[in-house]
């Protein structure tokens, strides 16, 4: 019975972490995410030159914070790796899926983002589609286990944001993944 303690540990780490920070992204502040959201009242058309939108952090912004380091340590529990050209979830990741689904079911206000990634082989937009397929596979598994539909959004980065640089299988297997990220 080694499964239960594992889940317990992971769940507690996730709870403690509060707002887990995804390890591989640069802080939003540097990315200049000054994009008015769909709900903001930015003006359309007309005032082209003056139509500079107010910068504001978007939901899901990764502002760092106290929980970041703890979450980094927990990163291993939030990443699901895949075989080449496959979106099938390997049995060893059942625990991660179950824990994440329970966490979502227990807190209906919680929102997560599933970020799908591929290795660098093949064309870029096709890899975006493959990464989306992986993220959708995880999403379906979460919904089957009790997560609510609006709680889980997907985004695919294809091969654009590798976890590891490199052109060998060691890098490729680290890059074929779905990361579970709290979306606030």
């Amino acid at each position: 019975m080694r499964v239960l303690p594992l889940i317990a540990i992971m769940a507690s780490v996730l709870l403690l972490a509060g707002c887990p920070k995804k390890p591989t992204t640069a802080p939003e502040a540097e990315t200049g995410s000054a994009v008015p959201g769909e709900t903001d009242g930015a003006t359309t058309g007309g005032a082209a030159g003056a139509g500079v939108g107010e910068a504001r952090p978007l939901p899901g912004g990764e502002g760092g914070g106290a929980g970041a380091d703890a979450a980094m340590a927990a990163g291993a529990g939030r990443i699901i790796y895949f075989d080449f050209d496959s979106s099938e979830i390997r049995p060893e990741y059942a625990e991660i899926i179950t824990a994440a689904a329970r966490r979502l079911a227990a807190a209906p206000a919680l929102r997560i983002r599933l970020e799908g990634h591929t290795d660098e082989r093949g064309s870029r937009e096709y890899n975006i589609a493959l990464g989306e397929r992986r993220a959708q596979a995880v999403r379906r598994a979460l919904l089957l286990q009790g997560a609510g539909d609006p709680q889980v959004v997907t985004v695919s980065f294809g091969e654009e944001r590798p976890a590891m640089d490199g052109t060998d299988e060691a890098a490729y297997e680290k890059n074929r993944r779905v990361e579970i990220v709290d979306a606030g």
């Binding site: 769909e38 359309t44 082989r121 093949g122 937009e125 997907t154 944001r161």
Partner: protein, 434 residues
């Protein structure tokens, strides 16, 4: 809900075509030219005013012709005379130097502060004057005017318009996986004058030119989710045209510029091709398949959309009428054919193909059904045709770095465009610029 919004440059996000040049200029190396290049002499242009001429027109034309791989321009130090007009050319003297064609001309200052680039092309074997043109240009446009002259000279001799007076867009990436910098760039077709169009700490992908060459569509992940933007190059003004749930990717302008083909997955996660009418934001679904459908490319008459799909088990290129209908499979050889692009005459399709374990660029003659692998890299991708259809630019690897390379459709001429320290990828060749 309005998705179409205009906004300029805010915060640390920069959209600045007119701003400081980027550090790394691409430099062109010809890695393979034709075995029997045409001998041409481009004589230094005349300039009657005080001081140095504002632009060395002959140097630009000479390097354009050389860069094409099809010409061998005579060095200035080997020239015995420096005529500036066709009647001054002694054809026999140039024949002795094995020169087949001579380009002469002068740069003339006009009263309004502008200039006129006057040039002539003479065939030394027949003594015939093949071309005589005058191109007016402001000081900043003298290089472009020189490229235009190159385009016309190229066409007069080879029967096909040159593509020198064009630009390329590409994505430059540097930094570690933890701190990447993505920059959308535009440079002249010879790699000169690189400018940053947009930069972000999140991925930028899939630049696509509007048919008038004035705007770029691209995918940006700023904010952590994908969106498609259309940005005007001159003003930097941009509109977010798609920010739907799931994938917003692979934008491609219709030949009339009114519609954007793009890839969406929306909430159901089904990756399909859609057509978005830009003025009205009206969205029409073009494909509907549980398989992946992506990477749309328009035929030049706008009647067909080619795309990649794995509906048959492996990624292959299909085609569907722009008004809908049932898609037809186009590629059959090999287990991986993706990212189609069509030459402007509609006869040649370029794809990324899996060739003996390596991803390479192949051309497919749609009429003769003959395919040919054009490149020899391990990870070649993102082919894009020059507007004359004679040359493809694509992304390849040089050691650890992503670089750009070109190959002529007949495979005879190859070039490499080397950049700085980071990766250069996803080249998109502009249409002819007005």
């Amino acid at each position: 809900m309005k998705i179409l919004r205009f906004f300029g440059c805010a915060g640390t996000l920069s959209c600045l075509l007119a701003a400081a040049p980027a550090d790394a200029q691409l430099t062109v190396q010809i890695t393979q030219g034709v075995a029997d290049p045409i001998q041409v002499a481009v004589v230094p242009f005349g300039w009657a005013e005080m001081g140095a001429a504002p632009w060395d027109v002959a140097a630009t034309i000479g390097s354009d012709l050389q860069r094409s791989g099809r010409f061998a321009p005579l060095s200035r130090t080997d020239m015995l005379e420096f005529p500036h007009a066709a009647p001054e050319i002694d054809a026999a003297n140039w024949r002795l130097l094995k020169v087949d064609y001579v380009v002469v001309g002068k740069l003339v200052a006009l009263a309004d502060g502008r200039f006129e680039l006057q040039y002539e092309l003479v065939n030394t074997l027949t003594g015939q004057r093949l071309l005589g043109q005058a191109i007016p240009a402001g000081r900043e446009s003298l290089k472009l005017a020189s490229h235009r002259a190159s385009d016309t000279i190229f066409e007069k001799i080879l029967g096909m318009r040159g593509a020198f007076a064009t630009r390329i867009a590409y994505v430059a990436v540097d930094g570690s996986p933890q701190a990447r910098r993505f920059r959308l760039m535009v440079a002249d077709s010879d790699g000169a004058n690189p400018r940053v169009v947009m930069q972000s700490g999140q991925p930028i992908m899939s630049p696509a030119w509007s048919p008038d060459g004035a705007s770029l569509a691209y995918v940006s992940f700023e904010g952590g989710l994908s969106s498609v933007f259309v940005q005007q190059l001159a003003s930097g003004q941009r509109a977010r045209v798609s920010a739907r749930s799931g994938i917003n990717g692979a934008p491609a302008f219709s030949p009339d510029g009114r519609r954007l083909a793009l890839t969406l997955s929306r909430r159901d996660g089904n990756v399909d091709i859609y057509l978005l009418t830009l003025a009205t934001q009206q969205l029409a679904r073009l494909t509907e398949s549980p398989a992946i459908d992506t990477e749309p490319a328009w035929s030049s008459d706008g009647s067909q959309v080619y795309f990649t799909s794995d509906r048959g088990g492996s990624p292959q290129v299909y085609r569907v009428g722009a008004g809908g209908g049932s898609p037809q499979r186009v590629t059959f050889e090999g287990g991986y054919n993706a990212r189609p692009r069509l030459a402007s005459d509609g006869k040649i399709l370029a794809v990324v193909t899996l060739d003996r374990g390596a991803y390479r660029i192949a051309s497919l003659d749609l009429e003769r059904r003959a395919s040919r692998v054009l490149t020899a890299g391990r990870q070649d991708e993102s082919p894009s045709f020059a507007p004359n259809g004679a040359t493809l630019i694509y992304a390849t690897r040089d050691g650890r770095h992503g670089v750009l390379a070109t190959v002529s459709v007949d495979g005879r001429v190859q070039q490499r465009l080397a950049g700085g320290d980071g990766d250069i990828r996803e080249p998109a060749w502009s249409p002819y610029l007005q």
